[in-house]
C-alpha cells in the first residue's frame, strides 16, 4: 500500500540514463553508468554501496553540483540540461538542502548564524529569517544552543545544526552524505530519527548516502550501488512515512 503511495507521490529529483565520466586521459573514470533514479516527496531513500561505488558522484549530480556527461536530471520538474554554474547554484538554493559527513559549519559563526546563513544566501534577512532559523534549531532539539559556536558543540549537535541549516529554507529535497559516519551510535540514531521525521513531511524527499546497516531501519527504500550502477532496490524496514503522515 505504502509502495503505491510512494509511486504516486511527486518526484522531487529524477535522473534518467545518467553516465558520469570523471577525470581525463589515462585517469578517466566512468563513475556512473546508465543510472535511473527517482526521489519522491515524502520518502527517505537510502543509497548504499562500498567506497568508490559512485554514491557521492550520484549525490553530486542529483544535488546539481555536477552536470551529467550523459543523461538528464530534473529537480522539481526543472531540468539541469545546459545549466551553467550559476544556474545550478540557483537550483540548489531553491530546491535542495545538504547535510555533509563532516558538517561543514562555519567555525566563526554561532549555531544560529550558521543556520541563518542558508537563508542569507537566498537573500532572506531580518527578523523573519532569524525567527525561521531559531525555529529550525528548536526542531532539531537545539533550543539552548543558539549562541554556541561549532567548537562548543558535540559532533551530534553540530550535525543537528547542519540539519537545521539544510531544512531552514524548506527545500523539496534533502541530500545527506553519510550524516552519521562521524557520530557514535546514539547520536547517529538521533540524527536519523530527525531525518526520518523530516521525510514524513509532504513534498520533501530525503536521500541518505551511507554504508552503515544501522541506517536501514529508517529507510522507506534502499538502493544499492556498485561500480557506478544501481544494482538493487528494495523496501526499507522502517515504518512507512506516508502512512505515519496519514497518507493511507
Amino acid at each position: 500500500m505504502s509502495r503505491n503511495l510512494y509511486a504516486m507521490a511527486q518526484p522531487v529529483l529524477e535522473a534518467k540514463g545518467l553516465t558520469q565520466v570523471l577525470g581525463s586521459g589515462a585517469a578517466k573514470v566512468r563513475a556512473l553508468k546508465d543510472v535511473n533514479f527517482t526521489l519522491r516527496a515524502g520518502e527517505l531513500a537510502l543509497l548504499m554501496g562500498p567506497s568508490g561505488s559512485g554514491k557521492t558522484t550520484l549525490l553530486s549530480v542529483l544535488g546539481c553540483m555536477l552536470t551529467p556527461t550523459v543523461g538528464a536530471v530534473s529537480v522539481c520538474g526543472k531540468s539541469t540540461a545546459g545549466a551553467d554554474a550559476e544556474e545550478l547554484a540557483r537550483l540548489r538554493r531553491e530546491h535542495v538542502g545538504f547535510i555533509f559527513q563532516s558538517y561543514h559549519l562555519f567555525s566563526t559563526l554561532t549555531a544560529l548564524e550558521n543556520v541563518q546563513l542558508a537563508l542569507d544566501v537566498r537573500g532572506r534577512r531580518g527578523n523573519d529569517a532569524e525567527s525561521r532559523a531559531r525555529h529550525a534549531l528548536v526542531r532539531v532539539g537545539l533550543a539552548e544552543k543558539f549562541a554556541a559556536t561549532p567548537r562548543e558543540l558535540s559532533g551530534g549537535e553540530q550535525q543537528r545544526v547542519a540539519i537545521a541549516r539544510a531544512i531552514v529554507s524548506d527545500p523539496s529535497a534533502v541530500l545527506a552524505d553519510e550524516p552519521t559516519a562521524a557520530l557514535d551510535g546514539e547520536n547517529g540514531q538521533s540524527v536519523m530519527t530527525i531525518l526520518s521525521t523530516l521525510a514524513k513531511e509532504a513534498k520533501r524527499g530525503v536521500l541518505v548516502v551511507g554504508h552503515d546497516p544501522r541506517l536501514m531501519p529508517f529507510a522507506d527504500r534502499i538502493i544499492s550501488i556498485a561500480d557506478g550502477r544501481l544494482v538493487d532496490e528494495r523496501s526499507g524496514t522502517g515504518p512507512p512515512r506516508l502512512r505515519a503522515a496519514g497518507g493511507s
Binding site: 547554484a89 537566498r122 534577512r125
Partner: protein, 377 residues
C-alpha cells in the same frame, strides 16, 4: 547586516597574526603615501611662500622667469611703463638675491635677501614676533627668522653681523618663515637690499602690481604684455604654479615623491593581496560550502571584498593617526608634511582601491572552487 559581512569580520579577526600582518602592510603603505604626498603639498607651499604672502594682483617678471628665486632682473624703467598702463594702481619694486652673511665668529653662511619698499604694501616679513616692520627703515636694520638664530649667530633684536661686508643689525624677528633650500631669508629695505645683493639701482627683480578697483585682470595683462614684451604679468596663482612646477617637476623632486608614493602603493597591494589570498585559501572549505548551499559567486566575492574594505578602513585609521603625528613633528621643520582634508579623502579612496585591487587574486582563487569538494573534505 548581511551575514557575509559578519563572516568577513569574523574571518578577519580569527587569525590574529595574519590580521596584524595585513595591518602592518596597509599602515606602512598608507603612511608612506601620506607622508610622500604630504611632503609634496608641504614642498609646494614652501616654494611659493613668498608669492603667497606678497600683496599683489599681478607679478611683473622677466620673460621666462621660472620661480621666485630666479635671478633674472628687470630694467627699473619698466616700472614707469607699468604705471602708465590703464588699470594699474601701483607697482612696488622688489629686489632679491643670494648674499653672504658673516657671523660674529667670522664664519660665513649664505642667505637669501628680500628687499622691498617699506612704505608701500609689497612683500614685507610676516609673523613678526619681536621688533617691527617699521624698524627696518632704520640704518643697518634687517629682519631674520628665529629658527635661523643659531645658523646666523644671532640671539634676537640688537644682534649684529656683516652682510656682504656691510654691518647689519637685527631689528625684527619672525617665526616660521623657512626656506626649503635651508638658506635663511633676510628681509631689508629696498635700497639696502640692493647693496646686500649687488643688484644695481637701475635694475630690480619684480614689480608687485595692484590694480585699480574694477580693472579687468586679463585685459591689464594683455596691455602690459604689449607695452613691455620682455616681461610677463603673472597672477599670483600663475606665478605660484610656475614656481611649484619648476621646483617639483623641473628638479625631479616631485617625481621622486610620487615614485615613493607609488612604491608604497605597490608594497601595500602586494602585502594585502598576499594575506587576503592566504586567508581565502584557509577558508576555502567554507567558500565551497557556501557554493554548495547555493550561494552565488557574487555573494562569496562580497565576503572577500568586505574583508578588504574592513582591512582598508582599520588600517587607514592607524595610518592617519601616525600621519598626524608626523605632521605635528615636522610642522616647524624646513619642509613640513602638510595633510589637508582633501588629501585625507583622496588617500582613503586610494587605500580602499588598493585593498579592493588586492582582493582580485583571492577572488580568482574562489572562482575555481568546485562545490563537490565539500563531499571529500
Amino acid at each position: 547586516m548581511p551575514l557575509n559581512f559578519t563572516l568577513a569580520l569574523r574571518n578577519l579577526f580569527h587569525d590574529r597574526l595574519r590580521f596584524v600582518a595585513t595591518m602592518v602592510g596597509i599602515v606602512f603603505s598608507v603612511v608612506l603615501v601620506l607622508v610622500q604626498m604630504g611632503l609634496y603639498l608641504g614642498f609646494g607651499r614652501v616654494v611659493s611662500t613668498m608669492i603667497d604672502h606678497a600683496s599683489a594682483d599681478l607679478w611683473i617678471v622677466r620673460q621666462g622667469t621660472k620661480c621666485f628665486e630666479d635671478p633674472s632682473l628687470l630694467d627699473a624703467h619698466v616700472r614707469d611703463d607699468v604705471l602708465a598702463t590703464a588699470g594699474v594702481a601701483s607697482a612696488v619694486p622688489v629686489v632679491i638675491g643670494f648674499s653672504d652673511w658673516r657671523l660674529p665668529s667670522g664664519e660665513m653662511t649664505p642667505v637669501f635677501v628680500v628687499g622691498t619698499d617699506l612704505n608701500a604694501n609689497g612683500l614685507h616679513p610676516w609673523n613678526v614676533t619681536a621688533g617691527s616692520i617699521k624698524a627696518l627703515a632704520n640704518d643697518k636694520a634687517v629682519a631674520v627668522d628665529q629658527t635661523y638664530f643659531k645658523r646666523l649667530g644671532v640671539s634676537g633684536i640688537g644682534s649684529t653681523a656683516d652682510l656682504r661686508g656691510r654691518p647689519v643689525r637685527v631689528s625684527a624677528v619672525t617665526d616660521g618663515i623657512r626656506s626649503f633650500t635651508t638658506t635663511p631669508y633676510v628681509f631689508a629695505d629696498l635700497k639696502r637690499a640692493r647693496d646686500y645683493t649687488g643688484v644695481p639701482s637701475n635694475k630690480l627683480s619684480y614689480l608687485l602690481v595692484k590694480l585699480k578697483p574694477g580693472a579687468d585682470v586679463a585685459q591689464v595683462q594683455r596691455a602690459l604684455h604689449s607695452a613691455i614684451p620682455s616681461t610677463e604679468a603673472l597672477t599670483r596663482a600663475a606665478f605660484r604654479d610656475r614656481s611649484r612646477n619648476f621646483w617639483l617637476f623641473g628638479t625631479g623632486a616631485g617625481a621622486a615623491l610620487f615614485a615613493g608614493a607609488l612604491l608604497g602603493l605597490i608594497v601595500g597591494t602586494v602585502i594585502v593581496a598576499q594575506t587576503l589570498y592566504s586567508s581565502t585559501k584557509d577558508h576555502i572549505d567554507e567558500f565551497a560550502t557556501l557554493r554548495a548551499l547555493g550561494s552565488s559567486n557574487a555573494y562569496i566575492y562580497r565576503v572577500i571584498i568586505y574583508q578588504a574594505l574592513l582591512s582598508a578602513a582599520i588600517g587607514f585609521c592607524f595610518a592617519a593617526v601616525i600621519g598626524f603625528i608626523v605632521v605635528e613633528v615636522t610642522t616647524k621643520g624646513a619642509l613640513p608634511v602638510v595633510i589637508t582634508p582633501a588629501l585625507i579623502a583622496a588617500i582613503f579612496g586610494l587605500t580602499v582601491a588598493m585593498c579592493i585591487a588586492s582582493a582580485f587574486a583571492a577572488i580568482l582563487r574562489v572562482l575555481r572552487i568546485d562545490p563537490v569538494m565539500v563531499f571529500t573534505r
